[in-house]
């Protein structure tokens, strides 16, 4: 009998992760496009780092940060009388950190592809930077932003290394789909592992398939036109 809890938890964790990833990814990409400051290249490298580091290393660094004795862990413990470590929140954090570079990169490329004359035109028509961003930059970047969302959602859904470091593998509490696959295979329950593999493969394949079809049929302006 298949246990659906890891599937549901994984979807919840991935959805929660991309809420943060979308907000911070957009903000970071727009800041990097418009601002110039000393050390910008280093900050940018830091944003991309979780994509190139082994996830287990990212997990270890997060463990140092949110563990009982880590700065964030201590702060949460003292002010909220709780712990992040080995909770679903830690899984959300792990998913968000590893998925962030994909959203950031997609958003940055999408923002850079917007004709800067359109943003300038909005400015000369009286729009402040906030209005330029929401009425011109974001609508015209929409295909790239959707691509970033789908890729980062898939990445968060499949996260294993960092998740096991900070959230552990507590069945019914922090066991996500990739962890369930690993431990089912390890305990030689290949049927269950196979079913989970099928579920995650169908989920991610459908998203990427839909993205490919959608991006072929929509150009930037018409996609923005439908949504804004």
């Amino acid at each position: 009998m298949i246990e659906w809890q890891p599937v549901v938890l994984s979807l919840k964790v991935a959805v929660a992760s991309i809420v943060f990833v979308f907000a911070f990814g957009l903000l970071a990409a727009y800041a990097m496009k418009t601002l110039s400051f000393p050390g910008k290249a280093a900050v940018e490298a830091l944003f991309i780092l979780p994509m190139v580091l082994p996830p287990v290393v990212t997990g270890f660094l997060l463990l140092l940060l949110i563990g009982k004795n880590g700065p964030v862990g201590k702060f949460v413990g003292e002010h909220f009388a709780t712990q992040l470590i080995f909770t679903p929140y830690a899984a959300v954090l792990a998913g968000a950190v590893v998925a962030f570079p994909l959203m950031y990169q997609s958003a940055k490329a999408a923002f850079q592809s917007v004709d800067s004359k359109l943003e300038d035109a909005a400015r000369t028509l009286g729009a402040n930077e906030w209005r330029v961003f929401w009425t011109v930059t974001v609508p015209l970047s929409w295909p790239g932003l959707v691509a970033g969302l789908v890729l980062s959602f898939s990445r968060a859904l499949g996260e294993f290394g960092a998740t096991i470091m900070v959230a552990g593998n507590i069945p019914g509490k922090t066991q996500t789909l990739p962890l369930a696959i690993y431990f089912a295979a390890e305990s030689n329950n290949l049927t269950l592992a196979g079913l989970y593999v099928l579920i995650i493969s169908v989920l991610t394949f459908s998203m990427i398939f839909w993205l490919n079809i959608w991006s072929k049929t929509k150009d930037g302006s018409s996609a923005g036109r439908r949504l804004f």
Partner: protein, 228 residues
């Protein structure tokens, strides 16, 4: 009256320009890359000069001595870009209304007047990719004037049009300037356009104001005056 007296270092030469214009059409004429568009961008606040000052109706828009720099969205300087920079994800109606600060009865009246004068009343629901070059030019002019600018800058406004449309729109531009009675600063490298539109023509070469070419007077209708 718009008054400008600025310098700005460009990649190959220094732009040094000084002129005043009052409720007429001033043409900046010169070959590509001589600093015409940079001058317009400095007036609009899209670029910052290195030194000097720009004032409109005696109010400073830029003054290097006092470090004053009014951002483009607060200058009330309309700008018609060379390729019009119309928002492709909005229809004609939304493009024209983008810069309206207060959508009251007066604005409605102005909107109707502009649609009638520019003969674009049938186009309001269309998206930009469904407009011809001449229609785009008219919509861009309507959008710029709808924001009720104190000055209108036009960067090669007719260069993308065929000959018949160009002649028709030259007459419309002159008509609109007379009706609105604000300074128009127009950039072109086309001598015929400079002669047809300019109440005054200012000749630029590698960032410097120069005298009119020798053969200019004989081909010109006689109402033009070369700047010093």
């Amino acid at each position: 009256m718009l008054h400008i007296d600025i310098t700005k270092q460009l990649s190959d030469f220094e732009l040094r320009i000084k002129f005043s214009v009052e409720n007429s059409i001033l043409v900046l004429f010169g070959p590509s890359g001589c600093g015409k568009t940079t001058t317009l961008r400095c007036i609009a606040g899209l670029e910052k000069p290195d030194s000097g000052m720009i004032t409109n109706r005696d109010l400073p828009l830029y003054d290097s001595a006092t470090n004053e720099f009014v951002p483009p969205n607060k200058r009330r300087v309309g700008y018609m870009f060379q390729d019009y920079a119309l928002f492709p994800h909005m229809n004609v109606h939304r493009n024209i209304w983008y810069g309206v600060r207060k959508g009251d009865a007066k604005a409605q009246e102005l909107y109707k007047k502009l649609l009638r004068l520019l003969k674009i009343d049938q186009l309001t629901e269309r998206f930009i990719d469904k407009l011809s070059g001449g229609e785009k030019q008219r919509v861009a002019l309507a959008r710029a004037l709808m924001a009720e600018p104190d000055i209108l800058l036009l960067d090669e406004p007719l260069s993308a049009l065929d000959n018949n449309t160009r002649l028709e729109l030259q007459a419309e531009l002159k008509n609109m300037q007379q009706l609105w009675n604000i300074p128009f600063v127009l950039v072109t490298h086309d001598p015929q356009e400079a002669r047809a539109l300019g109440h005054e023509v200012l000749f630029l070469e590698r960032g410097r104001q120069v005298t009119a070419p020798e053969n200019w007077e004989c081909t010109c209708p006689g109402r033009l005056q070369a700047a010093n």
